[in-house]
Amino acid sequence: MNRNITHRILWGLLFVLLLIVARSASSQTVSIPVFVSDSITHKKIANAHIRIDKTRIASISDENGIALFNIPPIFPLGLICSHVGYDTKVIRLSGYSVDTLHIELSPANISIPEILVTATRTERTNISLPNRTEVITSEQIESMPATNADDLLRLVPGIYITRSWGIFSRNASINMRGLNSSADILILLDGAPMNKTAGGSVNWHMINSADIERIEVVKGPVSALYGGNAMAGVVNMITKKPVNILGGYAEMSVGQYGTYDAGFSLGKSHVRNNKGFWWNLKGRFRTGNGYILQPDYLKTMNDTTLFIREYSGGIAVGYQFSPKSKISIITSGYSDIRGQGTKIYDPDGNPEENFTLHTIARYDYSFKKISVSANAFLHNEKYLKISESLNSFNEYRLYDTETDNGDLGGSVIATYLTGKTNKLSLGAEYRTGSEYGTDIYFTSTDELEYQGNLSVISFFAQDETALLKGKLNLVTGLRYDAGWFTNGSLLLNNPSIVNYIDENVLGDLPESSWNRITPRIGVRVPLKKTISVYANYGHGFMPPKIDDMVRSGKIRKGNKEANPNLQPEILEHTEIGAEYTHRKISISLSGYYSTGRNFQYLIGTGDTILSGSGELKEILKKENIALLEVKGVELGMKALVAKPIIITASMGLNYSEIKEFDTPEGYTTDLTGKFLNETPVIRAGAGIQYQHRRFSLFLTWEYTGEQWADEENLTTIDPIMLFNGKISVPVRDRWKLSLDINNLLDKPFIDKKGYLSPGRFIYATIRYTFPG
């Protein structure tokens, strides 16, 4: 407890120090009135947003259309004026040469083409891509209710997020388009993968939404470009980069359940005339006492509140050698300890601890018609979990799990402009992942030790062409991946009746390999100025996880046995879609059909073992045995209802059925005809965004339909409906107060494991943003 208070004091002092730095940085400015009006009606425009390009200096026009703007002497500068329903306008200023600045805005379409980099690893507008893509802009990130980075994806059609315990959840599970594994979606941070080769999952806690500039979501398999994990799609989070004056933010938050949070970011770009370096520092601390997971009627004396203590930080540096050449290195560190809600004897109960280091290096070079991008990344995670339990006979069990996972990789991609409308990209990638882990028992003498390596080498090519004078945009791609599993071993020292592992999977594990060729073809055709259609066909795959290949041991269902011979899951996907955009409304509709082969399932082998408590437990093993069929439809809409109000809506329908279940001889499970568990048929969401002169309000509604809780389709999880909201109030120039409320109506629900969600969760933040 004393450590907690000390941390809070230290962070508070840091916050004050940053405020002092910020104030001194913003001292030399000149105030100029800016008048904003409609170019057609000439009427004044209230609540127009005016910002200096490459800085965070901003202001909003009042009811008279006037904003008093503080402009620092950093000429020449760009003044960006925007308002919902109008084209954004940029004014270039070369000095303090005007008494009043008059900006006229022209009415515009609600949907402005965005430049995306994720769908093709080159810059393209979203309206030319033969994929369903979504962009979450910095404005939306700023205004959406979100206490975790993954919350920003909640209104994206086709995405389903499970985070039942809010910020106290161990992690978030993100599913897309009818598939039920987080490992089926490739998560990128500044273009580098976050998915661990060991288990396929992503640590969402180490990503801070305040540091994200934008999020690009590409739906449908993109394995032809990204390889493994990009089976359902890709989510690329692009972080903010510093601008040419010292700037950043400092914020503090308080929330329910004794939650405190403080963070900062500070950076500056020294790039002048396309040469120079830039840097950025960031840090964050969050602590919370949590709540009790068990519903009242199930509480026991061993139930205790969840708790969290998180620390994160990062440093980013970059150097621009010339307009055509630049390098950057970004390093992030994250450490946490999280309680799991039970405590029997161990002082901290059953905590999980995590320490993660993630480093990305990137070099970009362009020369005439060729651009080359080289990436390297290193991701290392150390994990410790203490597991205590009392079985129904009050027999005490205690063991520690420690794992050390590492991922190292790099890629080179060269893009050549072969013509005015044609780009050819060639690339190569290498990635190696490793896992070393132990389960050490303290209430018996069992010591389990496991390890393995999975490496993948890949080559890919992509061609982007605009045919028929831009009336047909064609993207084709082909990728080859070869993976091999080595150094696998599983040892059980001093075994007792607590652990049983078939001796056939003990010792050195057999090596295995696989290879995949993944094609992709897509076309988008603009039928009219407001309507375009697209179609695509492609493959995706998810490589086997090291954890499934090397680790045997206890799980909830029974005893899991390692399978070093696992092969990748494969998805074959066809999709068509259409998009309609008009001034005040945009609507997108997609339909898709996928067949999955070699899907992995945990099935009973037919053998059982006697647990220490005398209960028979099934021995389970993951095998590639299922043929899956996924059918789905997605609808997205964005409408400008009135000038300060935007409504967004999304809906996804999908049916994911196991068509064939190729049960190996001797095994007992057959899931033919069953539906995928934890995959709701219906998922819908809506958001209302209201921008007032004095505040902004964002309300969201989410509906998750009924879903199967188990693979055998015996138990269901009831539908869940949630309302969330965020209100932000700018105070003076750079201060902002905001209030996030999750689950506005305070409707706690029971998740698939029988645990309680936290109900209404209120989070208040005060933030100071200073120039830059």
Partner: protein, 306 residues
């Protein structure tokens, strides 16, 4: 006055200095013992009245108890481990605990194996094991086998049977219905029921076996009991004829087991099955003579015990 320096003495000192330094260095290094960098818990066997604390020669089936004390050394003790090494098998029984110190009593019934090698140690929260205490138990081959008690026939009814009770007391050789069993909890060693939930079918367990609360019902249901005796079972390969013709306890001793390693339930019972049982008071065997029905079915067993 001229003072002559004792040059010879100072030179001697210099000459001696280096050997002294080297010798000192050697002494210093050799005196540095590699200190134990592991703090391990401690275990002791107690020589108290009623307990054995050294190797012993025992007759077949002879019961003895051993008493241990343990204490932590830097981290709580989390496991008491007992291991039995005999000619053909190794049995490991680990008991989870979390304490700074305590005592542990082990009850052993001498088997027919000529030599039993027992090992005992504790393990702490840091994964350090204490020293191991070893005890050897030799079989007194001259000792006589003991007498057995035979219960020729006991018929129990399943949970909804209206013709026979589901509860049995070995010492009293009496079948009890739910109310009678509730009133005589200390007597009850066996419970018969048909398990619909986990497909274990005809099952004999005991009050302490954590039988699902939905099997029985009413005010005399097991969750309302205050005394829950536990009996453990191991299925044997004893032939029916050998069971029926047994006249002393050699057949029981030959099929004995370490109590904690036995199962809490004897499941999927069919006629002809022979199970060894141990309730920490009596050890014996039972033979299933007949079994039929489900929730209202019945089972007839014959028991021998020592």
């Amino acid at each position: 006055m001229i003072v002559l320096r004792n040059i010879a003495s100072s030179t001697d000192m210099r000459r001696l200095a280096y050997p002294i330094l080297i010798l000192s260095f050697v002494c210093f290094v050799s005196s540095c013992k590699k200190t134990e960098d592991v703090s391990k818990p401690e275990i002791q066997i107690l020589c108290e009245s009623g307990y054995i604390c050294e190797n012993a020669i025992l007759g077949p089936g002879e019961d003895v108890e051993l008493k241990f004390s343990y204490s932590a050394n830097g981290a709580p003790v989390t496991c008491f481990s007992q291991r039995l090494f005999s000619e053909s098998s190794t049995t490991v029984v680990d008991s989870g605990i979390y304490a700074e110190n305590g005592t542990f009593i082990v009850r052993i019934s001498k088997s027919l194996v000529l030599l039993e090698k027992w090992e005992f140690f504790v393990r702490d929260r840091n994964g350090n094991n204490s020293d191991t205490i070893k005890i050897e138990l030799h079989l007194d081959t001259a000792a006589q086998f003991g007498q057995i008690t035979r219960i020729g026939s006991a018929t129990l009814g399943a949970q909804t049977s209206t013709t026979a009770g589901s509860f049995f007391g070995i010492s009293s050789a009496t079948v009890y219905d739910a109310q009678q069993a509730f009133q005589n909890q200390t007597q009850i060693n066996l419970v018969y029921y048909y398990d619909f939930i986990t497909s274990d079918a005809n099952t004999i367990a005991s009050p302490g076996a954590n039988i699902d609360t939905s099997v029985f019902s009413g005010q005399y249901n097991l969750p309302n009991w205050t005394t829950l005796n536990t009996t453990r079972f191991v299925q044997t390969s004893v032939a029916e004829n050998d069971f029926l013709s047994a006249t002393h306890d050699s057949i029981i001793l030959a099929n004995g087991f370490v109590f904690a390693s036995g199962k809490r339930k004897a499941k999927n019972l069919t006629a002809g099955d022979v199970y060894a049982f141990d309730n920490e008071v009596n050890t014996g065997l039972f033979l299933v003579r007949q079994v039929s029905g489900t929730g209202d079915g019945s089972i007839t067993i014959e028991l021998i015990y020592r």
